[in-house]
C-alpha cells in the first residue's frame, strides 16, 4: 500500500519535472530569436522617447549587393561643448542581429557626419538613432531593397 502511494508521487513528480523541463527547453528558443527593431532601439535609448527628425540617413533605395551598402549619416547639431551629439546607433530590421554599429562623438568631432559600409541580409528598414548631449533622442529610417543578400550565405 505504502509502496503504491510512493509510486503515485513518483509519477506526479515525474510529470511535473517533465513539464518543467519542457518549459526550460522552450526558453532558449525565445532567447535565440533576435530582438525586434523597436526592442533594439529601446535598449539603446533606455526607454526614453525617440523623436523623428534632425537625423539624415542616406542609403540607396535599391542595392544589388547587400555585402557592402554605403550609408551616410548626418545629424543637425552645432557640435559645441554645450550642445553636441553624444552617440549615433544604426539598427536593422531583419539581419540575424539588430545592431550594426554605435558611434561615439563629442565636441572635438566637429561635425556629426559619418559614412560607412554595412551588410544587409534582405530588403528591410534601417534606423539611425542619435543621442544628444541634452539627453534627447532623434531618429530617421530608410527602407532598402536588396537583391543579393549578405551575412547568412554559405561558402560553396
Amino acid at each position: 500500500m505504502a509502496g503504491d502511494c510512493h509510486g503515485m508521487i513518483d509519477r506526479r513528480e515525474l510529470l511535473t519535472a517533465g513539464g518543467a523541463s519542457l518549459l526550460v527547453c522552450a526558453l532558449p528558443g525565445s532567447a535565440l530569436a533576435r530582438p525586434s527593431l523597436a526592442e533594439a532601439v529601446a535598449g539603446f535609448t533606455g526607454g526614453a522617447p525617440v523623436q523623428t527628425g534632425r537625423v539624415t540617413l542616406t542609403i540607396p533605395p535599391l542595392v544589388e549587393n547587400g555585402n557592402a551598402v554605403g550609408v551616410n549619416l548626418a545629424v543637425e547639431s552645432p557640435m559645441t561643448a554645450a550642445d553636441h551629439v553624444r552617440r549615433i546607433a544604426l539598427f536593422n530590421e531583419k539581419n540575424p542581429q539588430p545592431d550594426i554599429a554605435i558611434f561615439t562623438l563629442g565636441p572635438r568631432t566637429g561635425r556629426a557626419r559619418i559614412a560607412t559600409r554595412i551588410r544587409l541580409a534582405t530588403s528591410q528598414t534601417v534606423v539611425a538613432v542619435a543621442e544628444m548631449s541634452d539627453g534627447s533622442y532623434w531618429s530617421s529610417s530608410a527602407s532598402v531593397i536588396v537583391t543579393l543578400a549578405a551575412c547568412i550565405e554559405d561558402l560553396s
Binding site: T109, R117, C151
Partner: protein, 106 residues
C-alpha cells in the same frame, strides 16, 4: 606591415573641421555562415574602433557583424594643433592594430 589605410589632410588651419577616412583589411566574419563542410565559420570581427588626436579620443565606434568586410569609416575632427592622429582597431581576440597620421596645423 600594416593592413590599414588612413586618409588625413597633411595641413589644416586651426579650428578647421577636417575629414578623416579609415579602412582596415579584415574579413569581419559574422559567425552566421556555414563552411563547405557544414560547420559554422567562427565569428571574427573588429568590435571597436578609436581615433585619438594627440592621445585624446575624438571619435570611437562599436562594430557588430552587420559591418561590411574591410570596415570603412569616414568622419571628421577639429584641427586643434599639429600632432598625430592614432587609429586603433580591436578585434574579437583582443588583437589591436594601429595606424598613425601626422597633421600640421597653422
Amino acid at each position: 606591415m600594416t593592413r590599414a589605410l588612413v586618409n588625413v589632410p597633411k595641413t589644416a588651419k586651426r579650428g578647421d573641421v577636417i575629414d578623416v577616412r579609415a579602412m582596415i583589411a579584415h574579413p569581419m566574419e559574422t559567425g552566421y555562415r556555414m563552411g563547405p563542410n557544414g560547420v559554422p565559420i567562427p565569428r571574427d570581427i573588429i568590435t571597436r574602433f578609436e581615433c585619438l588626436y594627440d592621445g585624446e579620443i575624438v571619435f570611437a565606434a562599436e562594430f557588430f557583424p552587420a559591418m561590411s568586410a574591410n570596415p570603412f569609416i569616414s568622419f571628421s575632427t577639429v584641427a586643434t594643433a599639429s600632432g598625430t592622429l592614432t587609429f586603433r582597431w580591436t578585434d574579437d581576440a583582443g588583437k589591436v592594430e594601429t595606424a598613425t597620421a601626422e597633421i600640421a596645423v597653422s
